[in-house]
Symmetry: C2
Subunit: 134 residues, 2 copies
């Protein structure tokens, strides 16, 4: 069981175009894709850097999970995602060690199997795990 | 002016040993160093992964900046750091584009020149810039 890398950092923003004004235009980060992902209720922009990536998330609806998070907490860091080589083994190990999980079994994400650790199980950080499809 | 990589993600925690119980022991991340940095009022643990790193920060004093942050906001994501190749050029560019900076000129950090962008200038995210010493 190995953490391979920090897959991405997700930042929730009110408006993707305004956020790109900072992260793309002022900071000069490259944007490889901007797309709506209705199944996750977000519009996303992908800004890779080194072997990791910043993802900007704009909620599509104020009543979605991410929309409510934005209303309550404001813009800012939302979660980090760690790439693992064996997500089932990682989840079993976390469970055995008493970590609080949101997903006890992985679900299929856009590019691999994913699961979330509850912030209460990771010192206040919402941690996503991903095992990317081969 | 280029962002080279996500240098690190900083997480503020109440107790470093307990946090290592999750990030090192349960998640299996490697820890390369744990040390007190009194000039920054923190005890830090460094957990590299891929070409980036997670840094866990425990305040040394409740009345320090980071101690007050912890008391007010609780444990969780504190800031992200982006490595740049020319920090003066990046700051000048940010300033010209109206971004709100904490440091208009870089200061010397432990391993290079650093400066912080105010969360109000980066959609709620405290962003550190670092130009590492050659």
């Amino acid at each position: 069981m190995t953490i391979k890398r920090i897959d991405h950092i997700a930042i929730v923003v009110e408006n993707l175009d305004r956020a790109l004004g900072v992260y793309r235009d002022a900071l000069g980060m490259a944007v490889t894709d901007v797309r709506e992902m209705p199944e996750q209720d977000v519009k996303m922009a992908f800004l890779p850097s080194g072997d990791s990536e910043i993802e900007l998330l704009e909620p599509l609806h104020p009543d979605s999970g991410i929309g409510k998070y934005l209303a309550k907490r404001g813009e800012g860091l939302h979660h980090i995602c760690l790439e693992v080589d064996d997500i089932e083994a990682t989840l079993a190990d976390l469970k055995a060690k008493g970590s609080q999980l949101i997903d006890e079994t992985p679900k299929q994400g856009a590019y691999g199997k994913i699961a979330f650790i509850h912030p209460k199980g990771a010192h206040g950080v919402l941690v996503e795990l991903v095992q990317r499809d081969a």
